[in-house]
């Protein structure tokens, strides 16, 4: 778990638009075309040449999904502690301070209320540019609170995930966030409120193995890497090449793991349709079903 190579990167990708003159143009990772950065941003970070879905900053994602002026921020009041007094080549608090400064938020997730084509939702959007979207106590608590509050306020929950896994600097406490976020979703289930997870590139490790894959519906963005163990770890373990497209969204669709792969331009519309369909069930009170005995 915890593919947190991110912390080691010399020049972490910011995710925000780079305002330096050199940043006006950029090369597409996928097709190598030179693209004008503003065009990419205007196109929801989808390459106009090859349709490659670049990683999307949190603010842009919220703008993509929330109806105009409807987003109300919930998260942001919690900041990491250093329960292990974790030091590798640098103390954990120093690393966190630096990335907080860079990303201008206390940790790797943003949550809030919004309307999505008029539907009341709670949004959970992970920030991969913040320490690789790793899940420690703050991310776990924010996701948990968002799920609980969504249930209280009769909102559907949409989680847009992007994560390198658990945050190892908080040790087993990070691991426990997998159970904590899973349990938090029960509040929604009990009220039969839809929870849809949107898996974006990359969603890995402890986040994939907890709330990300527990959506009533699970959708993915094109070509997103979605896995438990990262490709490098697997390659080191099995010492052989991985199949073409392995662990990518389209591969997982074939393997039966996601409901659909949805291009970013259609994402909002599709989510809205799902919500209308899932919330249009019989009004009548239907008691809990009995549990199937054994499969």
């Amino acid at each position: 778990m915890a593919l947190e190579r991110f912390f080691r990167r010399k020049r972490p990708t910011k995710g925000d638009e780079d305002q330096s003159p050199a940043g006006l143009w950029m090369k597409c990772d996928a097709c190598s075309a030179q693209i004008y950065r503003k065009d990419l941003v205007a196109n929801q970070y989808v390459c106009p040449e090859c349709r490659h879905h670049h990683r999307m900053p949190v603010d842009a994602r919220i703008q993509l999904l929330a109806d105009d002026d409807t987003f109300e921020l919930w998260s942001g009041k919690l900041t990491p502690r250093d329960p292990l007094q974790f030091v590798d080549t640098k103390p954990y608090p120093e690393r966190i301070a630096k990335v907080q400064d860079q990303q201008q938020r206390p940790d790797a997730v943003v949550t809030g209320a919004a309307r999505l084509e008029g539907e009341d939702v709670a949004l959970v959007v992970m920030d991969f540019f913040f320490a690789g979207g790793s899940m420690g106590s703050v991310v776990g608590e924010e996701v948990t609170r968002a799920a609980e509050r969504a249930a209280e306020e009769d909102r559907s929950l949409i989680a847009v995930t992007a994560s390198g896994g658990a945050r190892m600097q908080e040790g087993a406490l990070s691991l426990m966030q997998m159970a904590k976020t899973t349990v938090a979703l029960e509040a929604l289930s009990e009220r039969r409120l839809p929870y849809i997870s949107v898996l974006t590139d990359p969603t890995t490790g402890g986040v994939t193995a907890s709330f990300a894959t527990l959506g009533d519906l699970i959708v993915a963005e094109p070509n997103a890497l979605i896995c438990f163990a990262g490709p490098r770890v697997i390659q080191q373990t099995i010492k052989q090449d991985l199949p073409e497209g392995f662990q990518r969204a389209e591969f997982l669709l074939k393997k039966g793991m996601v409901d659909d792969v949805i291009p970013r331009q259609q994402l909002k519309e599709r989510l809205a349709l799902y919500l209308r369909l899932l919330r249009g069930g019989l009004a009548k009170e239907v008691p809990e079903v009995e549990r199937a005995a054994v499969i």
Binding site: M1, R8, K77, M178, A179, G206, S210, C227, A229
Partner: protein
């Protein structure tokens, strides 16, 4: 093969044994000398094991001869009867489950199983489950619920297996589902980390009302080796990583991640498996008895609350 820090203990043991043989062969009386050495041995073991570094504990947790899941199933439960298969993908030998009596009470027991020798290790995939293992766990949780059987899980895995088939079959999906299913159990559940609690692959069967751990067992978000490989770009820095990760029983008790530490016999469970297993049995019987006063709703609520409150953070 003893662990490196056990070398002085082993040497002393050899010396005592030699002395005994000599006394017997030569017909001389060395009782006093031997007794002295035995006292020294006892002291040495106590000192050594009282002052283990975190990395040394990792080694003890993985030591050959340490009782494995199956050892417990066969010795502290009565009539253990294995139930095979997940009804979908296969039967994972790395996760063994079945019905048994624990001091007369029917229970459903699941154990992650490493091998006791090379051949078994290969058969058990070194205790690393594929998705079928977690699917089997989910199936057995269903069965436990249906027949009101308390659930006991014994945790001992380096982690869920990272392989091609495992990913294709949704390793992440089944771990998440197993966590959820276990959190929904309408019966009491107790987990014991008996060796290595390796990340999500361990937690998948660790969402219990009470989580116990043996004195020299570990529970961690990542193995020290992998952690070192990432942070120091060198897996031989694992000792450093083990320190940083705070993965010992005492650390975890302080962090609230486990509820109780079960003492091992002096010298570690691998030096006295029978005694170690009896201690685990004692703890299980005690804990189960204490849980019996609750109702189904309370077991669920307690389990949820327990995990709901794990995590440390500050206000901005």
């Amino acid at each position: 093969m003893p662990l490196s820090f056990e070398q002085p203990i082993v040497e002393l043991e050899t010396k005592i044994s030699d002395m005994r043989s000599y006394a017997a062969e030569q017909g001389v009386d060395l009782t006093d000398e031997i007794q002295l050495l035995e006292q020294r041995l006892e002291r040495l073991k106590k000192e050594t094991f009282a002052n283990l570094s975190r990395w040394q504990r990792v080694q003890v947790a993985r030591a050959p001869g340490r009782p494995t899941g199956m050892d417990y199933l066969q010795s502290i439960f009565e009539d253990f009867t294995e139930l095979h298969g997940d009804r979908a993908l296969g039967d994972d030998p790395a996760l063994v489950g079945g019905l048994a009596f624990l001091q007369g009470q029917s229970v459903m027991v699941l154990a992650q199983q490493k091998g006791r020798d090379t051949k078994e290790n290969i058969h058990r995939n070194f205790g690393m489950s594929h998705p079928s293992g977690y699917r089997k766990a989910i199936r057995l949780f269903d069965l436990a619920d249906k027949f009101h059987l308390p659930v006991i899980t014994l945790i001992d895995t380096p982690g869920a297996y990272p392989g091609i088939a495992a990913e294709e079959q949704g390793q992440a999906w089944v771990i998440a589902e197993s966590i959820r299913r276990m959190s929904r159990l309408r019966v009491p559940a107790i987990s014991v980390v008996i060796g290595e609690g390796g990340s999500g692959g361990a937690l998948a069967v660790g969402v219990a009302n009470r989580v116990l751990i043996l004195e020299n067992a570990i529970y961690s978000v990542i193995s020290p080796e992998s952690c070192a490989a990432i942070l120091w770009r060198d897996s031989t820095e694992a000792p450093k990583a083990a320190e940083a990760l705070r993965l010992t029983a005492d650390d975890l008790l302080q962090l609230g991640i486990v509820d109780r530490v079960i003492d091992e016999p002096v010298g570690g469970a691998h030096r006295n498996p029978g005694s170690a297993m009896e201690r685990v049995k004692g703890a299980l019987v005690e804990e189960l008895a204490a849980l019996m006063s609750l109702t189904s709703d309370e077991w669920i609520r307690q389990r949820r609350e327990r995990f709901r409150h794990l995590g440390e953070f500050d206000l901005v």
